[in-house]
Symmetry: C2
Subunit: 152 residues, 2 copies
């Protein structure tokens, strides 16, 4: 049976997608992570229409994922910087990158995220915060009722 | 400077979004992870128009993320099951869920992913596969040139 009472409004995945569930939005954030901050640079990188880009950037500012900062007074110029809330999305980006690498690369090398200090490849692991077990997809259960142990 | 030669076609995030970069698509996969397999159940869960749902499901089958299986002969009925390629997306779902929980919950409890065995909360960690360091966002560097050490 489906849990009809747990609809989109009560699902953290759906709530996240309300903000980041558009292709341009995720690609804007991707660019911000790799050091793009100015409107014209986003525009060149993405090749997206300027009005679409403007709308998406302002939405991300409104939602607190990007901060709009003036970097020049005459004439006034602004840039867009990730906030802590925006930076918290990097595991999503990393997971998308890993999946794209594995399943959509068609043999072509794409930019890779590596450990700055040693150049090693990054890997995401899911752990249980209570018993520290490494979690695979079959070990996951969704709980709907507030039961279950929170992390110690 | 931007890396103009590494456009969308050569970015694993962009490639991933070509398949999963639509809100309904991610929510269909979310439902498949929580045990929804039949057209009418997806439709009830998502409240999406039937033609949109049909298009999205067939796209996911074409892309090898879902498998369409006949479960009844008279009349013929099919269900949709995650393939290994589809299952590999669960870190993306988990990362979206964690972010939504932290930043978009508005104090309401949403369904939580827990460790089936002990009920503990799940947590994603990023590790370096070469030196085993735990990686934070500031430790990540993007490499575009094929340099850098692959995992040992």
């Amino acid at each position: 049976m489906l849990h009809r009472t747990y609809n989109d409004q009560n699902c953290s995945v759906a709530r996240a997608l309300e903000v980041v569930g558009e292709r341009w939005t995720i690609l804007i954030l991707r660019d911000a992570f790799r050091g793009v901050h100015r409107f014209d640079d986003f525009q060149r990188s993405l090749g997206v229409a300027r009005n679409v880009l403007q709308t998406r950037l302002l939405r991300l500012v409104d939602e607190g994922l990007l901060e709009r900062r003036r970097y020049q007074e005459h004439p006034p110029r602004h840039e867009y910087r990730l906030t802590p809330r925006g930076e918290d999305l990097w595991p999503v980006l990393l997971a998308l990158m890993e999946w794209g690498d594995r399943h959509r690369s068609a043999g072509e090398a794409a930019p890779r995220a590596v450990h700055r200090d040693c150049g090693g490849a990054l890997t995401q692991r899911c752990l249980c915060s209570a018993c520290d077990a490494q979690i695979e997809v079959g070990d996951v259960e969704l709980r709907y009722d507030g039961s279950g142990t929170r992390a110690a």
